[in-house]
Amino acid sequence: MASTAPASTHHERPPLYRDVTVVKWVVQIIALLLTLGALWFLANQAGDNLKASNVPTDYDFLSVNPGIDLSSGIDTDPDTGGRALWVGMVNTLRMAIAGILVATVIGVLIGLSRLSNNWLLKKLGTVFVETLRNVPLLVQILFYGAVFASLDRVSLDVGPVNGWFHVSNKGLSMPRVHIADGFYQWMIVIGIGLFAANLLRKRRIAQQDLSGEETYPILSAFGLVVIFGALGWFIHPIFGFVGNIFDGLSSVVSAVPEGALQILVALLSVGTSVYWIRGFLNSRRTPAGLAKLTDDDYFRMIFAGVGGVLGAVFFLVLWPGLSSWMINSGSDLFEVLGNKFGNGRSGRPVDVALPDIVQVGKFPNYGPSGLNFSIGFAAVFFGVVFYTSAFIAEIVRGGILAVPKGQTEAAAALGLRRSTALRRVIIPQAARVMLPPLGNQYLNLTKNTSLAIAVGYSDIVQVGQTVYNQTGKTLPVVSIWMFFYLSCSLSISVIVNFFNVRMRIVER
């Protein structure tokens, strides 16, 4: 056999331009450099242009009084730009969360009605879905806005339940439940309660598994939380010392030397890449020693190393302000927390305020004490809820249809009751199909609340636009939008993923 082996055992490397690995990585690196270069160029260009037109791109406006009034929100007369944007964010989130809840309920109902064997319900469901999802959301919002704007004028006795509930062309006003003095301490008590309840639940389940007797684990856990809540209502002031702890942390953080933190961050960057390379090498290790590394593997490691070092250089040289920023914001954060939890707060944790109608100048309007929804809010809310629920209905329908009929039959053959079969067999499988698109719809709903700009509801986009119209700082505002929406997207996908993973466990 050896006689037939070729003489050439040395490997001749082909010329670089014909080497697969080299070509592959060179092309990629060129693409990367081109992209970065283009971005850098555009950023530079924008910077120059902005400087030339005397609009510096800084974030000072966040702490300056913008002099704007907001149509609705937790603070309609914000005293800084940052506060204004914060109000916008809260408005957006409020709209998104309420919208998601209501749209899900309506969507599920409509989706189920499209599956029912009642002809009329099926047809009505179809008409609902087809009408709403084929008309652009903005058109719907503007239409609702126009309709609400033609409601009765607000007057001192506008109903339907005077003093409790008002509907008019200024929108909706109803009682408001709000956080009061002792809220944060109270939350600590409830947190402890939740923890204890979880322990109790587990113990009860273990008991039930042992004895076979029904021990109502969920119910008793819930009861425990209620007990803690009730207790905490009165005893929460004793947790005021938490505020002192946060104050202490604040001063500890502000005492951290800047230089040390800077070096720490740089080391972290290098360390991450070293850690990655070690992990990578470990993954290539075999019982018989290190496996042969391909050229790609070398390229990857070089890339990681260069990235880590570049990161370190970046933090050390190009962005020296990072550490002081980290220290300041960290100590500020703890200081704020210290205030919120501060000693000596002893009022009620939660309070209720009734709506009222006030007449300041010529025209009556809703006073600030009630929970007011402007017609802008109502228009956007109805718009996103109906629009999204049409899509959710389709997802629900598709998800349930995706479970093979054999599953229902198999469950019936096992003698499971219909409700048990639904809970244990059908819904887990349907949910697995439904969750990812459902998450997408929640994301869409959140993004769609930005159409509020068309009817003047103060969501983050509308507030942002007002702010940059005042200050001319478009770029910073846009960057805040981006950051905000990306965090929303990320949170929603994290939540959806969490449930998706759990679904899979349930299924197993």
Binding site: T4, A5, P14, R18, D19, T286, A291, K292
Partner: protein, 259 residues
């Protein structure tokens, strides 16, 4: 009879032929799992080599290394004098010189049978369409399905599809044909029609390397049978040697299970 003797016996008939496929100490890793452990073998021009062995022994991995669908990490593979390295040009050459037939046919479902066959000749070999089509029809004739040219793969039976796949590979006029369990996905009555085509091919003198469990086929047309296990070639020999008195215990065990 040792491995060397068997090789010599096979070499008697093919002694004066050139080497077509030469593998020396070929290693292949999937992560930390070594699928090929120093595989060394030579296949002569015009030889029909059958590779067999238990599932997971690395047969597919080896055969796929030969036209670089997988990249080997150690040792050398030389096909028709072209070494398989990172050289783009060599890869191009090997690919058009080595045909491959898959277990799952892998025909292109959106193209007609004729387009499946003419695609590579037209775009890789740069042949005029008329010529390519003429050749394709001749090949379809050869594999026994001249009347199916205008159909889509989805409309053919498994055996017919596999024969189209063979014709598709042959259309590149390869010097070597690789078969990876070409009949494993077929119903028994279709196996024969594919094997017949392969036998005819074998007699035509093309170099063939066949992974298969069809021992009847191996006995009839193979010049040599290679037995693999655990990523190594355990035993090599003529069909006669292999079926009558294999030397290795593992081969005996395998044969007792499969025959």
């Amino acid at each position: 009879m040792s491995i060397d003797d068997a090789t010599t016996a096979a070499n008697d008939r093919l002694a004066d032929r050139d080497d077509m496929i030469v593998c020396v100490d070929v290693d292949k890793f999937y992560g930390d799992f070594q699928a090929l452990k120093g595989v060394t073998a030579t296949i002569k021009e015009g030889e029909v080599a059958v590779v067999c062995g238990p599932s997971g022994s690395g047969k597919s991995t080896w055969i796929r290394c030969i036209n670089r669908l997988e990249v080997h990490q150690g040792g050398d593979i030389v096909v028709d004098g072209i070494e398989l390295t990172n050289d783009l040009r060599n890869i191009e050459k090997i690919r058009s010189e080595v045909g491959m037939v898959f277990q799952q046919f892998n025909l292109f479902p959106h193209l007609t049978v004729l387009d499946n066959i003419t695609l590579a000749p037209i775009w890789v070999r740069k042949k005029p369409r008329a010529e390519a089509e003429g050749m394709a029809r001749a090949l379809l004739d050869r594999v026994g399905i001249p009347e199916q040219a205008e159909k889509f793969p989805g409309q053919l039976s498994g055996g017919q599809q596999q024969r189209v796949a063979i014709a598709r590979s042959l259309a590149m006029e390869p010097r070597v044909m690789l078969f990876d369990e070409p009949t494993s996905a077929l119903d028994p009555e279709m196996i024969k029609e594919v094997l017949d085509v392969m036998k005819e091919l074998a007699r035509s003198g093309i170099t063939m390397m066949v992974v298969t469990h069809e021992m009847g086929f191996a006995r009839e047309v193979a010049d040599r049978i290679m037995f693999m296990e655990g990523g190594e070639i355990v035993e090599v020999g003529t069909p006669e040697h292999f079926f009558t008195n294999p030397t290795e215990d593992r081969t005996k065990l395998f044969l007792s299970q499969i025959l």
